[in-house]
Each structure stands twice: as C-alpha cells, then as structure tokens.
Symmetry: none
C-alpha cells in the first residue's frame, strides 16, 4: 500500500520535472530554429539636390538572423502631389551588404508608381470624405508598396549587415518609408511556425518519452550491476 503510493508520487515528480525540462528545451529549440516573423525598419532618405534619394539601414541583430530566408519589400508613404503624380514609374534600387567584407549579397531594381486617380474621381472623393479630411482623419496620400526580393537566403557565414535603398527620381516626395523584412518559413521552421501547438506537443512529448526511457535504462542498469547492495531503489 505505502510502497505503491511512494512509487506513484515518485513517478509524478519525475514526470513534472521531465515535462518542465522538455518545455524549456523546446522553447530553446524554437528560438534557435524559428526566426522572428517580421520586422518593419524605418528608412530615412537623404534628399540632396538632384541626386537620387537614398537611405542606409542596419539589418543585423534580430532583424535578419543568419541562416534564415527573408522577403524584403519597401513601403513608401507618399503625398498625392503633382510632383509625385507626374513622376510616373520610378525605380527602387536595393543593395544588401555583408558586415566585414562589405560584399554585395543581393542587388535588385524594381519599379513603383502611385495609383492614378482622375481629377473627377479625386473631386468626388474629396466631397465624399470631406468631414474626415477636415478632421485630419483622411489625407491625400498613398502607401506605395514595392516588393523587392521574394526570397533572400541570409548566409550563415557573412550574413547581411546593412542595406542601401535608393529611388531613381530626385523629384519624388515622401512622408515616410519603411523596409519590411518578412521571414520565409521553410521545412521544420514552417511547421514550427504555422502549426505551433501541434509541433510543440509532438516535440515536448517526444523529449519526455526519451527522458523516461533514459531513466528506466539507468535504473535497470543500477539494479543489474549492484544486486547484492540491497534494495534501496
């Protein structure tokens, strides 16, 4: 009776300890395997007379982890000013550089453009949204999204450290600009990110089982090696 109770208590203590250790282990594995889903990095363009506006940005630290894949896109918040509307298609140039060697890891040129609205549509929109416009809740601006790289494999050796973004037309006007860095989940990290609970349960229970098997083996070995030392097990 008492013997059975102690066995049961011992089992539950080991189970709780093993589970806690498994959860902790899985969290560490998760942190190592799954990168941060997305980062939004503000860009501050330098507008110099006649030169194409350009912005430099640091990509190290948690923004782009080595060994992971990322998609990069630029979001420009632009006023619907005549200068911007007259610019038509403009080019966005992105160059990603490594840290020490300053090697160019990726270089891409993609076109962007403001969505067109005729004078009539703009006038009717102004009338329809006048209250919001007067209160400052609506504005004559657009967020222009330019996808730059669909898949950038950040190398483990010499990972990306910084990027330079430039616009082809000096006449462009910006309210603000952001570089969106979105992790591309593939293989194990894909399952660990999208089926978070399922993979966690599978991994944690697997680790618990392995721990129990190891404990059982150790106990069996201990009894087999020292049968004469008495039953203190």
């Amino acid at each position: 009776g008492e013997r059975v109770v102690t066995y049961s208590v011992r089992f539950w203590m080991i189970f709780v300890l093993a589970s806690t250790a498994a959860v902790a282990a899985y969290l560490m594995i998760y942190r190592a395997v799954v990168p941060d889903a997305s980062h939004v990095v503000p860009l501050f363009f330098a507008f110099d007379n006649g030169a194409p506006p350009a912005a430099d940005v640091a990509l190290d630290g948690p923004i782009m982890a080595p060994g992971h894949a990322y998609a990069l896109s630029l979001v420009l918040e632009m006023p619907e000013s005549p200068a911007n509307c007259a610019a038509g298609n403009f080019m966005v140039e992105l160059a990603v550089h490594a840290g020490h060697s300053n090697r160019t890891l990726a270089s891409v040129r993609r076109p962007g453009i403001l969505r067109f609205r005729s004078g009539l549509v703009h006038s009717l929109w102004t009338v329809a949204f006048l209250p919001l416009l007067l209160l400052g809740r609506a504005e004559e601006r657009q967020a222009v999204r330019v996808p730059l790289i669909e898949l950038f494999d950040n190398p483990r050796k010499e990972p990306a450290a910084r990027a330079r973004v430039s616009l082809s037309k000096p006449s462009l006007q910006l309210y603000s600009a952001q570089l969106h860095v979105d992790a591309v989940f593939r293989g194990l990290s894909y399952y660990m990110h999208t089926h978070r609970l399922a993979t966690a349960l599978v991994f944690i229970s697997a680790i618990v089982v392995v721990q129990f098997v190891l404990i059982a083996l150790l106990q069996f070995r201990g009894r087999a090696a020292a049968p004469a030392l008495g039953r203190d097990g």
Copy 2:
C-alpha cells in the same frame, strides 16, 4: 472447391498488383508527355530616363519544358492616365533566348493600345461606379493583353532559357506586368490533357492487359518447358 478459391484469390492479387503498376506507369507517362497547362510569370520593367522600358525573365525550369509548344502573351496593368492615353499604339518586343549559346530562338514585335473612352463616357462611368471607386473596389485602370507568339516550339536541344520584353514608348506607365506562358497541346498530349479520364482508362487497361498476356505467356512457357516437374502452377 478449394482449388477454385485459391485460383480466384491469386487472380485478384495479380489484378490488384497489375492495376497498381499500370496506374503508376500511366502517371509517369502523363508527367513526361503532358506539360504544365499555364504559367504566369511576373515582369519587372526597368524604367530608365528616356530608354524603352525593358524586363528580363527566366523561362527555364517548369515554365517552358523542352520539346513542348507554347503560346506567349503579355498582360499589362496600366492606369488610364493622360500619359498612357496619349501614347496611342505602342510596340511590345519579345526576344526568347537559349541558355548556353544565347541564341535568339524567337523575336517578335506586336502592337498594343489602351481601350479608348471619351470624357463623357468616363464621367458617366465615374458617377455610376462612384461607391465602388470610393471604396477602392473599382479603379481607373485597364489590363491590356498583347498576344505575342501563338505557337513557339521549344526545341529539345537548346531550349528557351530566358526572354527579354521591351516597350517602345518610355512615357508608358505600368502598375504591373505578367508574361502568360500557355502550353499548346497537340497530338497525344492533347488527348491526355483534354480527355483526361478517357485516355487514362484506355492506357491503364491496355497496360493491365499487356501485363496479363505476359504473365499468361510466362506461365504457359513454364508449364510447356517443365511438364514433368509436377503441377505447382
């Protein structure tokens, strides 16, 4: 009685095995003979001051399989801006190049143009669709489709590896552009693609019949060659 049962069981086992093998064989034949029906490849035009906008695109891999025929067309998503409407007819130039030799496999020039709407029709359309326009569900844009090649025979030796698309007028404005690559099904692949079920049934049953004939021949040979060895058939 028992003998008949074993014969029947054996027949069904062979039938199931032969059918499975036939299905697997047909799937392999299908994959080899019938190309992917269509691919839509995004194009990113480079707009440089005064130069005709041009885009390079890779066509290897599954997009254009060697030995198959394809139709190529360009779809341009264009704003109905004054610049685009004033451009009138513009030319689209396509050049398809092979991989190593860089040989030009096809070169074509075709005209494109935005559909015309008078000021009156545009105004009435704006009023009629105002709710959708204000909500951003309708837009003053057109998808201009320019058929480029009706039949391009991708050679087995030196297949197409990349293409260059360029527009004759630098003043054109684009939201986005896509190259549509549609497989042209001819001969066997035509039947295998359009009458999918019928050809599959014909092929699979033919393969099963051939397998049964072969088995019957082998068994008959075995019995004819070794009549004295006893009846283990």
Copy 3:
C-alpha cells in the same frame, strides 16, 4: 427466277460501288476546282515613331491557292479617339509579292475614313446606350472596311506569297486589323460553290452513267470476243 435474282443483286452491288466511286471522284474534283471561300488573316501593324504603320503577312498555303481569283479588303478596328477622328481620310497601301522572285503581283492605294458623328449625336448615343457602355458590351469604336482589290488572279506560276499593308498617317490608332481574302467564284467553280447540291447531283450521276456505259461496253466486248468459252457471266 434465281437467275433474275442474281442479276438484280449483281446490279445493285455494281451500282453501290459505282456511286461510291463517283462521290469520291466528285469530292476530289471539288477540292481541286473550288478554293476555300474566305480567310481572315490578322495583321499586326508596326508603329514606329513617325513612320507610316505597316504590317507584313504571309498569303501562301491555303489562304490564296494558285490559279484562283480573290478579292482583298482590309478591316480596321479603330477607337473613335480624337486622333483618329482628326485624321480624316487616310490611305491604305497594299502590295502583293510572289515567293522566290519577290515580284510585285499587285499594288493598290485606297482611301479609308471613320464614320463621322457630331458631338450631339455622340452624346445622345452615349445616353441611349449607357447600360451597354457601362457593362462593356458597347464601345466607342468603329470597324472601318477598306476594299483593296476586287479581283486578283493568283497566277499558277509564281503565286502570291506575302503582302505588305501600310497606312499613310502615323497618328492613326488601331485596336486590331484583319485582311479579308475572299475567293471569287467564276465559271465551273461558281456553280459548284453556289449551287452545291445541284452540281453535285449532276456530276455524280454523270460519273455513274459513264461507269455503267463502260461496264456494259466491256461485258458486250467480252461476250462478242469469246462466245465459245462458255457463259460464266
């Protein structure tokens, strides 16, 4: 009794055979004498800065059979844009060339023009057809038909191989263009094409009659030459 039956059976067998042969012969004669009624060949005009738009088109193969006569006309699908309306009369130039010698077989210049509609008529038309215009079922465009050659005798030696169509005004705007090649039926081919059933019946029955006459002659000759060999029919 029996004799009559066998004669009758033999007659019907010969009749069926002769009729089948006559139908086959007539189909071959029809194919040789009557050309395809009409072909519509798409034209892709090249719009180069300031140069007159021009399109080259192949006319060999089944489009223009050697030894037949054809009428050629151009159909231009044009937007009712200000540029097109301001162009007034424009000239269409067609040159038909032979294959190897590149000799010009025909050369013609004909005028074309859009149908005029005043602002008032256009406005009222827009209002009347507004639902169709908004749904995209009606459009502000015209199909301008320019007859180019009423009778072109395609020579048996050196038949037409290609044509070049050009427009005099570079400012013209086109949605699409088609060259209509219509066979001109004269003499026998006229009757065979327009009174298809009547000529077919006349020809086929004539061929059947000729066959019967030939068979009768051969049988009569056979009996007259070998009266002593016995009556084997």
